[in-house]
Symmetry: C2
Subunit: 323 residues, 2 copies
């Protein structure tokens, strides 16, 4: 697993995923006291970065494997990515999703042709359900983060960020990346450290799902309680990945955490100032900058806004809260 | 007034306005039956394209004129553009705004340092009020569309669109541009016709404010009734500009109109699929494509999304309507 795998993924993804732009915003620069580059993966195909890893995995299946279809589990963004990649490649997709997943994510996964199997997020074991289906059907699994092809695909976010920031003559001093299972942060960190060797990289988690922070602190994988709750439906992972964690441990400078209230404020800021629709899990890196979780004055900071799939009712409720 | 003025404006605006990207979206392509390129000026500084024309005008004032400040009238987006340009250049700005302008636009204009003078949109004469203040103070006027420097600044939208679409190897067959007083469409048309001679250009208006459509049909400027109403607060102009209309008459292929309901549906589509916050006036070109106002199958169509400054309450209300 190295940067050549990410470069190969970028070639596969050419014409499939969007090369999302790097945006800048005066209000955000003023708050940060420095330059902030925004990589808006909410503008990506299916509304999050997940198409990158899913397509990179599905497009490398053997013809035999592809013919038997694939199985995945996901709270929604990976589900849409897998369903979309399957639709593009003519591969049948089955996705195990929590029954309380955002409606927009459930509907879009079905609309893209994915077969959705529901389970209870707090009592069911999605991985066990998915593995059973995979065995029954002889279908390949598409893990949402712990697979080299998935990590390499997500790493194209970091690759684009590094290349485009250099093109703008604004190479970041530090990059903040939302972290659930760690696929996006580990893949992107590999690419960023290759292209911008001196860059500092921070993963950002919801404070209630700080498994990567605890694991990073202890130097080995830690599991948090199943009873944790967060508004960030996309980042509710209880333990870092076997493949993703060693990469994150080696390449991250630190793991930051943000509260649900800080996430809500970031979603409001994105609506009012960035004119972007951002989902809770997609807003954690922005939230970390807005709430001053690390020094930004006089520095160039890049943040990944990883997704925008949020239900209308929640979005409207968040917008009408006092700031 | 020619494309060299627009190229000069682009140079002045370098580092001031954002070079907004060209976005693409699968759902939109599917609905159109062809490729659609989106130029999202909602991501622009102050949330609309208006900073372009305002800065291009203010930055060319003599030192004497700049010292006496400027006066403008605007429903809100030009107001923010003028206030922001004034703040950047150290020029005092006074803006006459309707008292029912969106709260976000009023607040942002003040926050940017603009002095706001309110009037009643349906009984007051904003131009007369602004001209009186300008005479009293010896201040220069910054018209929202009918000035060569303003038209040239807005034309940089078309210039970027032409250049970036060629870079993507997707030169559009047709471009749709929101139209109020006609500054954005006339300036952009000049640049587009220079860079992409065969392109078709359509202005899009709210059906209740179809002054440019009527004028285009008759070959001379027509005024519509003051009693017209539309959700598109940014496009409530009752007569095309003296400078903008001849350019639009010569370069546009047609003027399209959309209803308020079509605009609301476009704002919902932008939230759900594009993950962009779009204001009513900014959504008319998108609305025209979504509601099939012109053939798009098998063609490459570019649309300008001209602004995203919408109040939370209206946005939430539109999102929760049935489609």
């Amino acid at each position: 697993m190295n940067v050549a795998d990410i470069e190969a993924a970028a070639t596969r993804l050419s014409g499939v995923s969007v090369r999302t732009p790097l945006l800048q915003n005066h209000e955000l620069d003023q708050i940060a006291g420095g330059k902030v580059l925004i990589k808006p993966e909410c503008l990506q195909v299916t509304g999050s970065f997940k198409i990158r890893g899913a397509y990179n995995r599905l497009s490398q299946l053997s013809a035999d494997d592809a013919a038997r279809g694939v199985v995945a589990w996901s709270s929604g963004n990976h589900a849409q990515g897998v369903a979309a990649a399957g639709a593009m490649l003519g591969i049948e997709t089955t996705i195990v999703m929590p029954e309380d997943a955002p409606q927009a994510k459930l509907l879009n996964t079905r609309r893209l042709g994915g077969e959705v199997i529901s389970y209870d997020r707090y009592t069911g074991d999605r991985e066990a359900i998915a593995r059973e289906i995979a065995v029954q059907r002889g279908a390949a699994l598409v893990p949402s983060y712990d697979h080299e092809h998935v990590i390499a695909g997500q790493g194209t976010v970091g690759l684009e960020l590094a290349e485009d920031s250099r093109y703008l003559d604004l190479p970041p001093d530090q990059v903040l990346i939302p972290c659930g299972g760690g696929g996006l942060s580990s893949g992107s960190a590999l690419a960023l450290k290759d292209r911008l060797p001196g860059v500092s990289i921070y993963a950002v988690e919801p404070v209630a799902f700080d498994d990567t922070r605890r694991s990073f602190r202890d130097g080995e994988r830690r599991r948090i309680e199943d009873s944790a709750r967060s508004i960030c439906d996309a980042l509710q992972t209880t333990m870092p990945g076997e493949l993703t964690f060693p990469i994150n441990r080696d390449l991250l400078n630190q793991v930051l955490t943000v509260s649900d209230d800080e996430v809500r404020a970031a979603i409001r800021f994105a609506f009012r100032n960035l004119k972007l629709v951002v989902e809770p899990g997609g807003a954690v890196a922005l939230a970390a900058v807005l709430s001053g979780k690390l020094p930004t004055a006089g520095r160039t900071t890049a943040i990944v806004v990883s997704g925008g799939n949020i239900d209308v009712d929640l979005f409207a409720a968040i917008q009408t809260e006092p700031n």
